[in-house]
Assembly symmetry: C2
Homo-oligomer: 457 residues x 2
Amino acid sequence: MNQSQIPYKIYLDEKDIPTSWYNVRADMKNKPAPLLHPATLEPLKFEDMQPIFCDELIRQELDNDTQLIPIPEEILNFYKMYRPSPLTHAVFLEKALDTPAHIFYKFEGNNTSGSHKLNSAIAQAYYAKEQGLKGVTTETGAGQWGTALSMACAFFGIDCKVYMVKVSYEQKPFRREVMRTYGAEVTPSPSMNTQIGRKINAAHPGTTGSLGCAISEAVEVATQTPGYRYVLGSVLNQVLLHQSVIGLETQAACKKYGIKPDIIIGCAGGGSNLGGLISPFMGEKLRGEADYRIIAVEPASCPSFTRGVFAYDFADTGMVCPMAKMYTLGHDFIPSPNHAGGLRYHGMSTILSQLYADGLMEARSVEQTSVFEAAKLFARAEGILPAPESSHAIRGAIDEALKCKETGEEKTIIFGLTGTGYFDMTAYEAYNNGTMTDYIPSDEDLAKGFASIPKIK
Amino acid sequence: MNQSQIPYKIYLDEKDIPTSWYNVRADMKNKPAPLLHPATLEPLKFEDMQPIFCDELIRQELDNDTQLIPIPEEILNFYKMYRPSPLTHAVFLEKALDTPAHIFYKFEGNNTSGSHKLNSAIAQAYYAKEQGLKGVTTETGAGQWGTALSMACAFFGIDCKVYMVKVSYEQKPFRREVMRTYGAEVTPSPSMNTQIGRKINAAHPGTTGSLGCAISEAVEVATQTPGYRYVLGSVLNQVLLHQSVIGLETQAACKKYGIKPDIIIGCAGGGSNLGGLISPFMGEKLRGEADYRIIAVEPASCPSFTRGVFAYDFADTGMVCPMAKMYTLGHDFIPSPNHAGGLRYHGMSTILSQLYADGLMEARSVEQTSVFEAAKLFARAEGILPAPESSHAIRGAIDEALKCKETGEEKTIIFGLTGTGYFDMTAYEAYNNGTMTDYIPSDEDLAKGFASIPKIK
């Protein structure tokens, strides 16, 4: 690799946008464990999922064999609005760290949703439209996924009902207004529109809601309203499939300029970004064509990979969703309130869980203030103010680059920069004011969550 | 022009970033009128400006003759972080409007400052650094310019002191925190740090400040603190010079794909974006090589081009700055409080004022709700939530495209999309809730502002 011939930002041509998604499951010897029906404990079948999910998305969810799944033209047309996304050579960060390492990042934040979530939102909205549905429902916490879905639904002219955790709805009105500008109906959760919402409001007057409750409401509305289905922005196999565009473009950019990554790093919450970035590289690894160190970076306050157990658990706090075999902290686990940003899911993608269990990737956890330290350093060096989630990957990349500085090794590091932090300035303010704190759950804290994991062999 | 061969987004290569700025004054027969010293009414000389501005920037301010001014390598390196910016073929907007017109937009919002302001901020910070200064001061209203300058100063390692209008400081804390994250010292204005601030606070206890007052404080601090100078993000000739990178890249993209614009449209506040976009095209027009319709779009609530007078006036409300010959509403004019976003300057760039007086460009004013209607339509069609300022240009482009629909003409329209509206969601909320109002000043309202224009022949 001749560094001087690599541009600062590698923009592929429009014609280089992948025309198929890559399904890493096709190359996995040990397939991810199937979702289980919570009542029968039998693997979930197409018909079981049909009342909740769009038909084509269920097919993608269950397909462990097809390696390449063509991307419909209408989705490709939308991708052209913000893809290919740049793979950037972080020369200014390298200089700031004084490291011999070569650092690259794939930046997915150059769109109004501010993150990679749009890659799957547009696919899910398209299949809903194709099925002749009237609309979709979903939940959102801070609002990245809800924003992406609102944009996607506006593009295809279908309805979008978003249940937004009440505390975010009230305290973070900006993303709510972006969603409304895109025509979404945004309801604070728990609401009085649903049985579960009324029940929770009655049991806990004045509650400010939770993601688990918002999921339950969105699923209830989807299943009870003719012409609606529920959609989800992470964790599911279909989402990792759609997000493979991130990794495919990264792979193509690397090939074009002869970049050979040694280490690939992504942040991990439910796994959508990490899975998307690493899938094609993991494919090479699974097929024995190349080897890479692949590292998931997760928050120390929600450490599902590094301190969780690999077991069947409910996918949601409310236990209305199926059970998934995954690294989990228990569906009752809720991260400490001092935790900023996303990456607060108790579980993990079943695909990534299986790959981790098989020793094909590593994981580490990082503390919040060290994440924001990395975020600030990156923002000042590279001119992009990163999302708190993405900054976990930055922290991981910086740590690896600093190791290279010690050893003198010229390793090539690629990390996923999933989004921008423009709607997260309250967390930055806490960091700037020195009032941000760290939290590492004790073994006793974790034991409470583990106790909620059902006993299934 | 074969439409089908033009990609949706035209990204030039890194090597196509302009290596010189284009100075439109060199091609103007009637040069912009010089700034006048407020006391002597004599044209401002280098020495007069030296206590306030950086030396090299004064040279650029006064240079009416050099057509191309080389861009220093350090600035070019920074430009690579976010330039070339894309020229986008707005195929989805065309479809939504069902127009035969071909619409393109040059998008300057893909950077953390969220606007084109960074193009000049990095140049001004560089020259301050080169001169061995310790830092710079400036004022900011909503914060776009302050954010851009903070990023630029962080990159070159010089101090940045921002006086932020108090009401914005308190009500819009997000941009303030972006600036602080980049290391800027942000002070609510009027402060107790300056003579003028203390005076205003004493005279108007509890005042929430104004841009005019913030300018006066920033200038006072720059002139009273050793090693500091004052910098400004719009209006000045030097700023239009730096912003010419927008137009030069647009011109290069047009040449590459055989796009021949009929109409070029930009929003107009102080003129930095409009001047930058149109300069190279205006140069062709001035040299008789091509003809274009060039349209400035300004808010009906602050109509300096369309209802102002062409006269010498103070550049600032506080009358501490020099006088400029420009289209002005009078330095006492303040737009109605219902006016959202920027474009609230009482005057206009002297360069653009001269071009307008010479009949080389047109201007029109648009009302606020029609601007947000255009913004929402654009956001949903093209996937970018635009800044309120930029949306004036969108409104202008849509109106021209709708005229083409009536006449069946296939005109090619290019407009400047200066930035994103992520920090302007309060205004979007008002529009979404139907509570946004319009305001057109009456002739009597304008007469009050005109009365503040000094009588100078």
